[in-house]
C-alpha cells in the first residue's frame, strides 16, 4: 500500500495547513553547505577557521506552524500521518544543526581555532 499526497487521509484541514507550511519553509539552508566546506578546507590545509563564523540556527519550524494555527501541534492530531513526518523533520533538523555545532567545536578543539566561533 502506498500512501501518497493524493490519499484520502491527507485531505483534512490540518494536513492542508501543514503542507502549506512545509512547502514554504526552507527546511534546509545553504549555510550548512558553506560551513561544511569551510570546515573541510580548514582541516585539509591546517588553517584556522575564519573569524566570526556563525553556525546556522535551527529553523523555527514549530513557530511558523503555530502562527498558522494555534492548535496545530496539539496532542489530538497525533494520529495524523503528517504528525510523525513533522516530528521526524523537526528532530532530524535539530540533530543536524546540533551536529554542525559539535563539528565546529571539535574542529576548534584540535587546534584550528579562531577567537570567536558561533
Amino acid at each position: 500500500m502506498r500512501l501518497d499526497e493524493d490519499d484520502d487521509e491527507t485531505n483534512s484541514i490540518w494536513m492542508h495547513d501543514f503542507r502549506r507550511v512545509v512547502s514554504h519553509a526552507k527546511v534546509t539552508t545553504h549555510e550548512v553547505t558553506s560551513l561544511l566546506c569551510l570546515l573541510s578546507a580548514s582541516i585539509t590545509n591546517r588553517q584556522p577557521l575564519p573569524p566570526y563564523l556563525k553556525a546556522p540556527r535551527p529553523y523555527s519550524f514549530s513557530k511558523r506552524l503555530e502562527a498558522l494555527d494555534k492548535d496545530i501541534l496539539s496532542i489530538k492530531h497525533i494520529a495524523e500521518p503528517g504528525f510523525a513526518a513533522f516530528a521526524v523533520l523537526q528532530i532530524s533538523t535539530r540533530c543536524i544543526v546540533g551536529d554542525v555545532e559539535r563539528l565546529v567545536k571539535y574542529v576548534t578543539l584540535i587546534g584550528l581555532y579562531t577567537d570567536s566561533v558561533c
Binding site: 561544511l36 582541516i43 585539509t44 532530524s92 535539530r94 543536524i96
Partner: protein, 409 residues
C-alpha cells in the same frame, strides 16, 4: 513505514523479476564465462583513459585509502590552477604537456617510491661493490632486499604493524620447520607429509584472519623455502648446491639465518620509514577527514536541491534519464557510496594509529573519532530526511522517529 516497506518491496520484486527473466532465457542452464557487456566495458575503458590525464587532481580523498580511487566531484577534479590560465596557443598547450612530468615527480607516490628505492639500495649496494659481492650471495642477503620493499607501506603506523607481522611470521616458520624436519627423524617422506599439513593449517590465517594475513603467507613461504632448499641439497648433493656461491647450512643454522636476514631487512625498512620524515597516519587521517567533510557538504547540498525541487514540483518524470529528479538521484547515490567508502577508510586509519610510535604531544584521537561519528550520524540523518521528505511528502512513521531518537544529544 509503509513507504519504506513499499520501496524495499518494489526493489526486491524488480530483482526477482530480473532473475526470472534470466532463467527464462536459459542463460543459467549451462556453464559459461561471464563477460562484461559492451556498455560496462566502454565505461571501464573511459575511466581508464581518464585517470591518465587528470593531472589537475590534488589527490584529496584518494590518498591510498585501500586503493579505492575516490573522485570527489567536479570542484575537486578540475580544479583551476591559480598560477596558470588555461592554455590557448599551441605553444602554451605544448608547455602544459611538459608540465605533466614535474607534476608526476612531485606527486606523493613518486616521493614514496624514491624512499623505497633508497631503502632497497641500502642493502642492495652490498651486491654491487666488488669487495662485498661474494658476501651478499653467500649469506643470502637478497631475501633482506625483498623484505624491504615488500614490507614498507606509506604510513608509519601501518608499516610498524606489518613489520611486527612479518617478524612473527618468520619466527613461527623457523620453529615449524625445525619441528617438521626433526619429528620424522629427518626422513624425506615424513618431512613432506608434515610440511603439507603445516601449509594446509597455515592457510587458515589468510582466509579467516584477513588482517593478520601477512603472518600466514610469510610463514608458508619461508617454511617452504627452508625445507625445499634442504631437500634439494639432499637430492642434488652439496657440491652442486654450493656452485652458485651460496654457502650450505644445515637446517638448524639456515632457519635462524633466515630470521636474521628478515629482521635485518625490516630494520632497514624501519629506518627509512622514519628517516627523512615519517609520513604519519595523523596527516593522512586529517586529510581524509577533510575530504570526507567536503563530501558531506556535497551530499547535503544535493539533498537540499532534491527537497527544493520536490517542493517546487519540477523534478520531472523519474523514469526519464534526462529529468532533473533522476539526475539528482544518481548524484545522490554516487556521493553516498563514496562517503561510505571514505568512512571505512577513516575507521581503518584510526585503528592503525595505535601502532604508531608516539613522538611529541599526543594525537587528539578522541576528537577525531568524535568528528568521524558526527559525520556518520549526519549522513544517516540526511538520509532519513530525504526519505521522509522526498518519497512521500507527508507520510512517515513512528519507526523513523524511533530511529532518530537515540541520536538526540
Amino acid at each position: 513505514m509503509e513507504q519504506l516497506l513499499y520501496s524495499t518491496g518494489k526493489t526486491v520484486l524488480e530483482f526477482v523479476q530480473f532473475a526470472d527473466e534470466v532463467v527464462a532465457k536459459g542463460k543459467l542452464s549451462r556453464t559459461r564465462l561471464i563477460i562484461p557487456g559492451a556498455k560496462r566495458s566502454w565505461k571501464w575503458a573511459k575511466t581508464f583513459l581518464n585517470v591518465e590525464d587528470n593531472h589537475g587532481d590534488d589527490n584529496m580523498g584518494d590518498v591510498h585509502t585501500h586503493n579505492n580511487m575516490l573522485e570527489l566531484g567536479e570542484a575537486y577534479r578540475h580544479r583551476k590552477d591559480p598560477e596558470h590560465l588555461p592554455p590557448n596557443t599551441w605553444f602554451e598547450k605544448f608547455g602544459d604537456k611538459i608540465r605533466v612530468f614535474p607534476w608526476f615527480l612531485r606527486s606523493f607516490e613518486s616521493k614514496y617510491g624514491f624512499r623505497v628505492a633508497c631503502a632497497t639500495m641500502t642493502i642492495a649496494i652490498v651486491a654491487f661493490l666488488h669487495d662485498t659481492q661474494s658476501f651478499f650471495t653467500k649469506q643470502r642477503l637478497v631475501w633482506a632486499t625483498i623484505m624491504v620493499n615488500m614490507s614498507m607501506s606509506p604510513t608509519s603506523g601501518q608499516s610498524i604493524f606489518s613489520f611486527v607481522l612479518r617478524i612473527a611470521g618468520t619466527t613461527i616458520a623457523m620453529v615449524a620447520t625445525l619441528l617438521i624436519w626433526y619429528i620424522p627423524d629427518q626422513k624425506t617422506p615424513g618431512i613432506i607429509v608434515l610440511l603439507f599439513l603445516f601449509i594446509s593449517a597455515a592457510f587458515y590465517v589468510p582466509i579467516r584472519m584477513f588482517r593478520l594475513r601477512a603472518i600466514g603467507i610469510i610463514g608458508i613461504v619461508t617454511s617452504t623455502m627452508i625445507i625445499g632448499y634442504e631437500l634439494q641439497v639432499r637430492k642434488v648433493g652439496e657440491k652442486v648446491a654450493t656452485s652458485n656461491g651460496q654457502a650450505f647450512y644445515p637446517i638448524y643454522l639456515l632457519a635462524p639465518y633466515r630470521l636474521a636476514t628478515v629482521a635485518g631487512g625490516i630494520a632497514v625498512a624501519f629506518l627509512w620509514t622514519f628517516f627523512p620524515y615519517p609520513i604519519s597516519e595523523h596527516s593522512v587521517l586529517r586529510q581524509s577527514l577533510g575530504a570526507s567533510l567536503y563530501l558531506l557538504a556535497n551530499y547535503y547540498s544535493i539533498i537540499h536541491e532534491t527537497l527544493s525541487a520536490r517542493m517546487r514540483g519540477d523534478e520531472g518524470d523519474l523514469n526519464l534519464k534526462t529529468s532533473s529528479g533522476r539526475k539528482l538521484e544518481k548524484a545522490r547515490h554516487k556521493v553516498f557510496s563514496k562517503q561510505m567508502l571514505m568512512l571505512n577508510g577513516l575507521r581503518t586509519y584510526s585503528d592503525f594509529l595505535r601502532w604508531e610510535v608516539p613522538i611529541g604531544g599526543r594525537f587528539p584521537k578522541k576528537q577525531y573519532d568524535s568528528i568521524i561519528v558526527c559525520v556518520e550520524k549526519y549522513v544517516f540523518l540526511d538520509h532519513i530526511r530525504q526519505t521522509v521528505l522526498t518519497k512521500s511528502l507527508l507520510v512517515s512513521s513512528a519507526i523513523s522517529v524511533c530511529l532518530v531518537m537515540p541520536l538526540i544529544p
